[in-house]
Symmetry: C2
Subunit: 407 residues, 2 copies
Amino acid sequence: MNELLSEKVEQAATVLREQQIDAWLTFVRETTESGDPVLPMILGQPLTWQSALILTATGRRIAIVGKYEDEAVRQTGVWKEVIPYVEGIRTPLREILAEIDPRRLAINFSPHDVKADGLSHGMYLLLQEYLDGTPYGKRLVSAGTIINRLRGRKTAGEVTRIRHAIATTDEIFAAVASFARPGRTETDIAAFMHEQAATRGVETAWERAMCPIVTTGPGSMVGHGVPSPELAVRPGHVFHLDFGVRQDDYCSDLQRAWYVPSPADPEPPAAIHHAFEAIVAAINAAAAMLRPGVLGWEVDEAARTTLTAAGYPSYEHATGHHVGRAAHDGGGVLGPRWERYGRTPYYPVEAGNVLTLELGVDNVEGRGYLGLEEMLLVTDDGIEWLSTPQTELRQLGQVGERPAGVA
Amino acid sequence: MNELLSEKVEQAATVLREQQIDAWLTFVRETTESGDPVLPMILGQPLTWQSALILTATGRRIAIVGKYEDEAVRQTGVWKEVIPYVEGIRTPLREILAEIDPRRLAINFSPHDVKADGLSHGMYLLLQEYLDGTPYGKRLVSAGTIINRLRGRKTAGEVTRIRHAIATTDEIFAAVASFARPGRTETDIAAFMHEQAATRGVETAWERAMCPIVTTGPGSMVGHGVPSPELAVRPGHVFHLDFGVRQDDYCSDLQRAWYVPSPADPEPPAAIHHAFEAIVAAINAAAAMLRPGVLGWEVDEAARTTLTAAGYPSYEHATGHHVGRAAHDGGGVLGPRWERYGRTPYYPVEAGNVLTLELGVDNVEGRGYLGLEEMLLVTDDGIEWLSTPQTELRQLGQVGERPAGVA
């Protein structure tokens, strides 16, 4: 933990210099209730009273925290100057800022990136009040780019953890492919997967009630639905899972699909087969575009037009997103230039990014949702797959020696 | 769950009318990563895309949410008008606001109350952008008082749950009083209490690493420290726990203290006894002040001056706080008028509030931290204790038939 912490805090000074920002202030309180998403990356423990974590381009690491918490912050080994207070943070904060005298002071707000938007509006108002009469209230800028770069550029240690989370997910997919058979309900399957995760000592990558998302046929809600006790795997339908685990604080996020053979259609019907091929082609089109410097929307467009050119409707979500400490790790998306994505489709891809590629076709021939999601690492000149891409629509109940759902 | 949800959303309309606010907007996105503390109380499930939950003084309940999540919101049974969108929330949000035409629109920010400060600064900027060209951007006010009243006025169902959490905590204190004996380290004791909680199917009331806070003597960090594997219960010291559980979403938060007999001092030394009596007297002085309408700082002052009049230093924290969905449930504090508490010591106490009273004396005669924390319900004309107040300093290893640590 502290090794990763140290890697990330060191990276922060580099990013501050790149962005020509003198100092970056994370200003928080009672983080157990209302946490700044950046805190686990730079501190790794909660804070109770109003606290200021300041990193500078010159490498200073200053924490102003309530008495009772200073020792715990010191013990991280990462925060070198720890200043405890009792009555109020205003005075020590103003003193430290006067000493650093930043021309630009970055704080954690971003209209477009939830992971860089950890400062509450009330805390922003409080900060303005504390800085009243100093020049620093007018020198505040968004730390969006800093946080985006910091979250997005995975260190070697981070990539290793993500690989482990993917390997565990593959094991669970293999197990569920044996368990899921006609008659099993969505809730049966979700409960089985939760057991599998617990056995392996991992949590789900997002809220348990919706992880996995299980779709057993045309009756299932696509996307974000809670598994239903009334819908079951049925012959002739597509069986689809969207699932990930959090292992050692890092996540996976993958989708796998199977065809459920029926007496009438022991093989996937041609329409299903055609849709599956189009989905794989669209994912590959996106993967072929990915390299440092490409913009998110360009990657999205490559996938989206490949799918629509094959005769399928455009899906109503982004083609991909970052994965890291969260399944949706913030920063740019590989998404269309729609209002709800704000500026995030314009963020450039960087080496070290870990991204998903995910898309699908709803209800092909009334058989249910068919979709895939893969994970990859952006390298200096392209990508390396982190998941083993599914390139074949396996039939449920025909599991070979290799993990089901992985071609 | 949905019964409580329904109770609270109904209460909200009453509070809006009292506060003469036409509509209250909770504006969120990706709440799993960055949740508004009010969301569990009014929705009870996460939201992914930008979402607007609007409650009006006339009792309308409107949710504008991303497609894929509308059905889950409808299924709560509480949100009557659910409007799904795909490309962006701006248009449906502007349409609904034009229809309601609120003179004052409350949003979730508060410099002084973290529980009412769930709107991020980036989301605030986004909301201003969405409302640009309408009159509503200028009609925004803080929902601080609304949320404070809503969290603070416990319904019968909420009080019942809190009583259950307290009963479970008492069981765990009784068990730990048998387990803790000279030689057991702080981490041994914390691990034992975690096991006890797991056995009973409850979580800790705050972050596990610091719940319980265990102090075994003068070497322990008071207040917020992580249990140490190097510090153990020792004869002649005070053994003190600060602990609570979360059971069915509601919390307890209690402190209990024991004296560890030594051959030299089989009974608590007179100085320890005197300090214990002063602590009990200070808690009773605060309890005697508590009734609807009294201000937090007045209650704090009663306790604080009782303790200092007995010759002990003033403690560096508030005398009490609300408990509910969180161990520190926001709203007013029973605290001194110090900068770091902002306006919260000025909030009036209301009937239905569930509060703690907690204070102590550090390191009396080099024996360690001695403190107590009780919980109570404010009634129409005073209080009802929810915990059974500790009025006797029990000796560790001399456990009677009643739960240890409870007189």
